[in-house]
């Protein structure tokens, strides 16, 4: 009997925007599975999705996933997915589109939320009374997982909280295998670094993963370590593990272009920091590095931060924006296209990555692909990307970070390391990731 690998693509169904991090992983691995199955006729790959309403899995095809979007489309926030709750969605829209001068207006601050709530309440009521009634009709056939099958969970099942309990029950009846990718445990183990909205669902998801997965696929040794720590603390069984390296090849199909907000003349020398502005990414450390440099009479190059303002980051954003010393030295770009990002990587002196916690750390890998030095923190998974090729600092030490920045501002040292990166660093393609996941 042929063993079937079922790939869950629940969080890709109906998706229309640019792929987010996890969706790139699902697409990258799933695509390789399809290609492999086309060449190996004894291999069976099927796709399924889970309905939270019917609490059943349905069979679907890979074709429902739209291929990666045209890369010059403006990067969209992956939080704008259909799974994010409306409150969070409204918050993101407001933060993205309403100018700061309006948001910081005292009157708006005082009454904005109340008025907004009332308007939302009226709109919701009107929609419920006047709009079409929602009925869940799923035409696809139910997915039947057989004894020898493997269900591969690569996406974000925590967005559909009933999926894991349902899968666990089905597994008890049929005895198929479950393999689950583990991105990171920041939400559960470092809750101070993440919005608490997902805490319960994500933590409960991890509990089920430990109890019903036959194999976990952590994307770094650090995530594997954290997952096992979680298992120890919750007295959970520890499933077998295979650390995989996710694909990180950048497709450069269009010419890099300078971001609209930047001046070519003034932007000759700059440091680059890519990542959402949020507590975890530790932009505060960079702020203090620049302040310390000022105090010591050191003139650092301009800092270009690429990232929208995320959870709990208003304070640090305001400091960057309002500090007379720093604001002249900083450019914050909250939305860039892929060609613009390419231009930034290609033209920066080097990049800085002070993050306090990562499951992997894609901006580090990206920077290396452009042959650029990265001054990165030594936290969690980050040192696994380039190992001894790079030098690292403690994400809590302003001194260590400044020391490394100054070290690589030296042209000779920087060029030497760039050469080393060029000859030693090779990105991972999805075929390589697939080979690690697929054991058949």
């Amino acid at each position: 009997m042929t063993k079937t690998t079922w790939i869950d693509i629940t969080d890709m169904i109906g998706w229309t925007g640019q792929f987010g991090g996890t969706q790139r992983v699902v697409y990258g691995i799933a695509n390789e599975y399809v290609q492999y199955a086309n060449k190996h006729k004894n291999t069976s790959v099927k796709f399924c999705f889970f309905s939270e309403k019917t609490r059943k899995f349905y069979e679907t095809s890979f074709d429902v996933i739209k291929p990666m979007n045209d890369i010059d489309e403006v990067s969209k926030n992956d939080k704008m997915s259909k799974n994010i709750d409306t409150k969070e969605r409204v918050k993101i829209i407001i933060q993205t589109y309403v100018p700061n001068r309006i948001l910081s207006n005292a009157y708006v601050k005082r009454y904005g939320k109340t008025i907004g709530k009332q308007v939302y309440g009226i709109a919701k009521k009107a929609k419920n009374e006047l709009g079409p009634k929602k009925i869940t009709i799923i035409n696809e056939p139910e997915a039947i997982f057989e004894h020898n099958d493997t269900v591969l969970l690569l996406g974000k099942p925590w967005d559909t909280p009933m999926m894991m309990p349902t899968l666990q029950l089905l597994k008890e009846q049929k005895g198929f295998l479950i393999e689950t990718i583990i991105y990171d445990l920041v939400i559960s183990l470092q809750p101070q670094l993440h919005t608490p909205v997902l805490f319960k669902d994500y933590t409960q998801y991890l509990f089920y993963v430990a109890q019903c997965s036959d194999r976990i696929l952590p994307i770094s040794k650090s995530s594997e370590r954290d997952f096992y720590e979680f298992c120890d603390r919750m007295r959970l069984p520890k499933p077998e593990s295979k650390v995989i390296r996710i694909g990180d090849i950048i497709h450069k199909s269009k010419e890099p272009t300078i971001p609209r907000q930047m001046d070519r003349q003034k932007s000759k020398q700059f440091l680059l920091c890519v990542g959402t502005i949020e507590v975890r990414k530790n932009h505060a450390l960079l702020y203090y590095v620049y302040k310390l440099a000022h105090e010591r009479g050191i003139n650092l190059p301009q800092l270009v931060i690429v990232g929208r303002v995320g959870w709990n980051a208003k304070d640090i954003y305001t400091m960057y924006k309002n500090d007379p010393l720093i604001k002249e030295q900083t450019i914050i770009l909250d939305s860039v296209t892929d060609p613009e990002l390419s231009w930034l990587y290609e033209n920066c002196l080097f990049s800085v990555y002070p993050s306090m916690y990562e499951g992997w750390g894609l901006p580090v890998a990206e920077s290396l692909q452009y042959g650029k030095v990265v001054v990165a923190s030594n936290s969690s998974s980050i040192p696994e990307i380039a190992g001894e090729l790079l030098e690292y600092f403690s994400p809590y030490s302003v001194d260590e970070c400044l020391h490394l920045i100054l070290k690589y501002l030296d042209d000779e040292r920087r060029t030497a390391l760039e050469k080393k990166i060029h000859s030693n660093y090779s990105p991972t393609n999805w075929r390589h990731t697939f080979m690690q996941v697929n054991t058949s």
Binding site: Q168, L169, E172, S188, L189, P191, P196, F199, K200, T203, Q204, F207, Y208, A210, Q211, C212, F230, C231, R233, M234, R235, L236, P237
Partner: protein, 405 residues
């Protein structure tokens, strides 16, 4: 003429739920059995006890407010209310004068704080029987320390109770204690050995109804529960501490079809404190493998005990002997207990299906072992031995002694 006895406590005993109520209810039955006319009066907080009789006295507003402020010294407030709270004092005076008891049974020392001056004021000197449940002063210290009360407050409270216990021990005409060790403490305090009797805690036989059995069976079926581990406790600090110390919040060792059933008022307490607002991974996952059963009627609890596979007694502190231990022995189930839980039931350790563990790792391992082990049937002799825990046997000597008063 029959002898009249007034039984005083800091809670009513109508529909007894917690251990203290159950013990006192059994004692009242013993008095009735030997021919006493009994009036049981609880001085109680209406917010805590819904069931009571017309004889029970609820606290006045000021006393109730005081309890809200200091819930862990509520028993002291109830005791002192006899003299301090005008509403309680009036009602108590009425009982003392109209019922005119020959004897007064004081369950725990707290009621003596108010009764002693009131008896003096009224010029009454009835026979005093002191029903001890614990040596209370050191126990109160443990509780208050666990609540991080200021040391000066703890010192004063413990001193007050300690002195009251010492007076009572010396002045009473009969003292009944739960454990040998408590009894020895009282002898050291100056109790007359001839006036003391050991009455270990006991239980009544489990009783249940078909309806209650079906209720639980439906719950198990609906939630795919096959193996049930049962923890029964009141929201009393030692019960909470014991569970956290010996089992903890990490219930990942339970398989998907296994559940920790949590019964008694501790269930509501856990529901309040184990919530995801704390961003604690134990709180967030606890209820995946635990079921809050709430406070249950005797019959529903009986059905739950009957249907469970393993009973856990993670008791690490507190004096006295535990009624839950007696229930577990009588239930003839697999039992995982600490040595402390078997205090005064040490003999039960030799019965089959009992695991003793005193560290968290050992305790959890013992639960897992108990789940995986087939229950061994008791011999006739073992059955008889287990029946020692029934109230009728535990209070046999007490009954003989009160006949002679």
């Amino acid at each position: 003429m029959t002898k009249k006895i007034l039984v005083l406590s800091t809670y009513p005993i109508k529909n007894p739920q917690h251990g203290g109520q159950k013990r006192l209810a059994a004692i009242v039955n013993a008095y009735i059995d030997v021919g006493y006319t009994v009036k049981a009066v609880g001085i109680f907080d209406k917010a805590v006890y819904k069931d009571h009789t017309a004889d029970d006295i609820s606290l006045g507003i000021s006393s109730a407010v005081e309890i809200r402020k200091n819930p862990w010294t509520g028993d002291i407030v109830c005791g002192r209310a006899i003299i301090d709270d005008p509403h309680v004092k009036e009602a108590m005076k009425k009982h003392l004068i109209e019922f005119a008891p020959n004897a007064i049974h004081l369950e725990q020392p707290f009621v003596y704080l108010g009764l002693e001056p009131l008896l003096l004021e009224l010029g009454l000197s009835p026979t005093i029987i002191y029903g001890s449940q614990n040596v209370e002063a050191p126990m109160k210290r443990e509780i208050l320390e666990s609540q991080y009360e200021p040391e000066s407050e703890i010192y004063n409270t413990v001193k007050l109770i300690g002195e009251c216990e010492r007076r009572l021990v010396k002045q009473c005409d009969l003292l009944t204690a739960c454990t040998k060790s408590d009894l020895e403490t009282y002898w050291k305090m100056g109790a007359d050995k001839k006036k003391t009797v050991l009455s270990q805690n006991g239980i009544d036989r489990l009783h249940t109804t078909e309806g209650d059995k079906h209720h639980w069976e439906n719950i198990y079926k609906k939630n795919g529960i096959v193996t049930k581990i049962l923890f029964i406790a009141s929201a009393h600090p030692p019960s909470i501490t014991g569970f956290i110390q010996m089992i903890g919040k990490g219930l990942g060792f339970l398989a998907p079809h296994q559940r920790m059933m949590i019964a008694g008022s501790v269930s509501d307490y856990f529901k309040n404190i184990f919530n995801t607002k704390n961003l604690d991974i134990g709180d967030a996952t606890f209820w995946i493998r635990a079921v809050p059963c709430g406070r249950l009627s005797e019959s529903s609890l009986g059905a739950l005990i009957e249907s469970c596979d393993v009973l856990v007694l993670p008791i690490t502190e507190g004096g006295g002997s535990n009624l839950k231990t007696a229930e577990a022995i009588m239930a003839n189930k697999k039992v995982v207990a600490t040595s402390h839980a078997l205090r005064s039931f040490e003999w039960a350790a030799k019965l089959p299906n009992i695991w003793i563990a005193d560290t968290q790792d050992e305790f959890v391992a013992a639960i897992r072992q108990a789940i995986d082990t087939e229950i061994i049937p008791r011999t006739k002799l073992e059955e008889k031995k287990a029946e020692q825990v029934l109230w009728v046997n535990q209070l046999a000597e007490f009954r003989e002694r009160i006949k002679k008063i």
